[in-house]
Assembly symmetry: C2
Homo-oligomer: 405 residues x 2
């Protein structure tokens, strides 16, 4: 007999462009299941749950739910809270008081860990509850899934932004010769790699890509940049915020803020900053950096249709599986066909997901460590959704010279 | 009798999302005029012209031209070259050798100056040539025109990006409490002001806006931020890269690049950087900054349809006017109706445009100097094109508490 009770869903970690699509898929599917009585949401994930800040999602209009998939960022609010030992009792009390029998947490590996621990807690206490995780992270670094919802959209943003910023550099290369595109990613270079996804011709940007999976080598970097600049069209370089040197230190500038009170306080600047300085000082070339920051991860501007559809599918699948008594698992994506591209949902134990990280594998990085391989492009291209808008390429046929120069 | 001869067009200054739309409008219109024989383009503006790097635009396919309006950045290449006295003779020789009778330069006030000077040069030499400027600048700081092509698109980008990055801050405000959106703009705050254009409700982002038209007051800024943060939903602050303090100094961090060779070299960090440090040190609050950089100005992601259409219209109008023997003028936009919004083209002397700058006027900035006024929103809203995609807003109705907290 089906377990009757209420559903509770939360969103956790860095927001994405499609975390609300998973929420929408989940809410719509939940309405099809009689055993699910009320549909509740945690405000700001477990942070709000511990304060018993719970909202009634069943009372949201169909129109609101229909707009959710195309609304970026976490509509329920998010958090980065790790549960402490002290939280267990309070948590259980609240879950029981609201008769929560179906629990869903949308997030990355920290969230998988949280979900796993809540499930274990309920289990120990003899509180029957089905816990299913729903993957979400722009970083694309979860194991056991072909890719993570959120990645396709941040990848599309960076592919388009790099194409555009690259055209900008080419047009004005005599002034702004080098452009650094600093992307998110911390320990994994998936997002940075995606800057290559709009490239069509050999001299299209980006010209160099540096991922945190490879140690940053200052001399090789400078040699790479010099060589590219000498081609005379400017140089666009995609770098991950998480780059580190051979001693494992992040590439950062130390700076002193100006002003009487604040003088002397050290703060860290980002890698874009660092490289602009390095190129200026060592090569005497003017560089600038673009750092879209959170604009890239919560972008409604460049949502991938594929990403939206998959995020929604996972939200719905999580409910279906939980209603089949699946628990302590995360729903995942499995690529069942490459041409045409198609993913189905599968399952992986929450504890396994929690303890694994998936860096960009060797076969996706070129030997020199300064670009991605065609294998990466094959993997990632289907994820960014429909075709990119075509751009004009002028032939630029030179008129014969009529004067002596 | 119409002056027969060849047409030459160049693009200059910082690229925009629609400078190619002006080029397309110009090429298409030129084909309708029998007196125009060949349609030529300068590579990289007058920089290429002085090298006699001229391309045949008449040989580009109709398909290529039809893709141009939606292709961002300057397809002909751009430059920031100012003509020197030495360049005059060479320039005239090249113009005459290619029988250039119609000259068009798409750019900002420096470009208007260049166009004016080339026209004067030809005049003195008795070389009959019609010179018409076409406005272009994301900065929107040209006088004598309602607004500048390129502005509508950078405004749309920043309106959308601020809405999205603002949702991101709200979702995760307990972790990333303050977000700085650093926009382009140098001396004029038009781009920064545009971050408010997607705002619908009083507590929507951005919460504070600082323009370079007002002196940056450190203490008032900190008080503003503190007040907004205390509302408990995070705080999104739009700032212009060109902010200056009471001594006229730009807000920058001095930094020391790490590394043996480079130690001690000072470089300037941006205003986003500076404010993140200031907020951390003075208020003890974590802030981060997003700096879309050139992604904002050359964005194909967020082109404004209105901007594209107007840029194209101006390119065509410039040709028509030149063929009516207009010279030494820039085509401009004149708002003839606000509801429904409609602009027509007009003319202004190149020399006047060259010598004027238009900052954001007082009536567009609030008394406290930390936001824009409704009058600004009325002015700018029509420029960003069609409606912004609607987002879901959850009601978030709280479920009654069932436990003692």
């Amino acid at each position: 007999m089906a377990l009757k009770g209420n559903l509770l869903v939360g969103q956790s970690g860095g927001p994405t462009a499609v975390i609300n699509a998973s929420l929408a898929g989940l809410i719509e599917e939940a309405k099809n299941h009689e055993e699910i009585e009320a549909i509740y949401g945690m405000e700001h994930g477990v942070e709000g749950l511990l304060l018993e800040e719970i909202v009634d999602l069943g009372s949201e209009s169909d129109e609101t739910i229909s707009l959710l998939p195309n609304t970026p960022s976490a509509a329920l609010g998010s958090c980065r809270k790790k549960l402490g030992e002290d939280d267990s009792e309070r948590l259980l009390t609240i879950l029981k008081a609201h008769n929560i029998r179906y629990l869903f947490y949308i997030g990355g590996n920290d969230s998988a860990d949280t979900s796993h621990r809540i499930g274990a807690l309920a289990d120990e206490a003899g509180w029957e509850m089905h816990v299913v995780g729903i993957p979400k992270t722009v970083d694309n670094d979860l194991a056991y899934t072909d890719h993570c919802p959120g990645y396709g959209s941040v990848a599309r943003f960076n592919a388009l932004a790099t194409r555009d910023a690259g055209l900008d550099t080419r047009a004005l290369y005599s002034v702004d010769t080098v452009k650094i595109i600093e992307t998110m990613g911390r320990n994994a270079g998936w997002i940075t790699a995606a800057t290559a996804l709009a490239r069509e011709q050999a001299d299209d940007p980006p010209h160099l890509i540096y991922l945190p999976e490879r140690t940053f080598d200052r001399e090789r970097f400078l040699a790479d940049v010099k060589r590219e600049v000498e081609k005379g069209q400017g140089c666009v370089i995609a770098v991950c915020e998480g780059l580190r040197d051979e001693s494992g230190q992040p590439l950062v500038s130390f700076k002193h803020a100006v002003g009487t009170d604040s003088f002397g306080h050290k703060q860290l600047g980002g890698v874009g900053d660092y490289l602009v300085n390095l190129i200026a000082e060592e090569l005497g070339i003017k560089a600038r950096f673009d750092k879209a920051g959170t604009i890239q991860r919560s972008s409604g501007i460049a949502q991938s249709g594929t990403d939206v559809a998959e995020a929604k599918m996972l939200g719905a699948a999580a409910v279906r599986r939980a209603c089949e008594s699946v628990t302590d698992q995360m729903v995942t994506l499995q690529r069942v066909s490459q041409k045409p591209y198609r993913c189905e949902t599968a399952l992986a134990p929450l504890a396994d997901v929690a303890n694994a990280e998936r860096p960009v594998p060797d076969e996706f990085i070129n030997e020199q460590g300064n670009y991605v391989t065609p294998a990466f492009l094959d993997y990632a291209r289907p994820l960014i959704g429909g075709p990119l808008p075509p751009y004009a390429r002028l032939k630029m046929s030179r008129v014969s010279k009529q004067t002596a120069s």
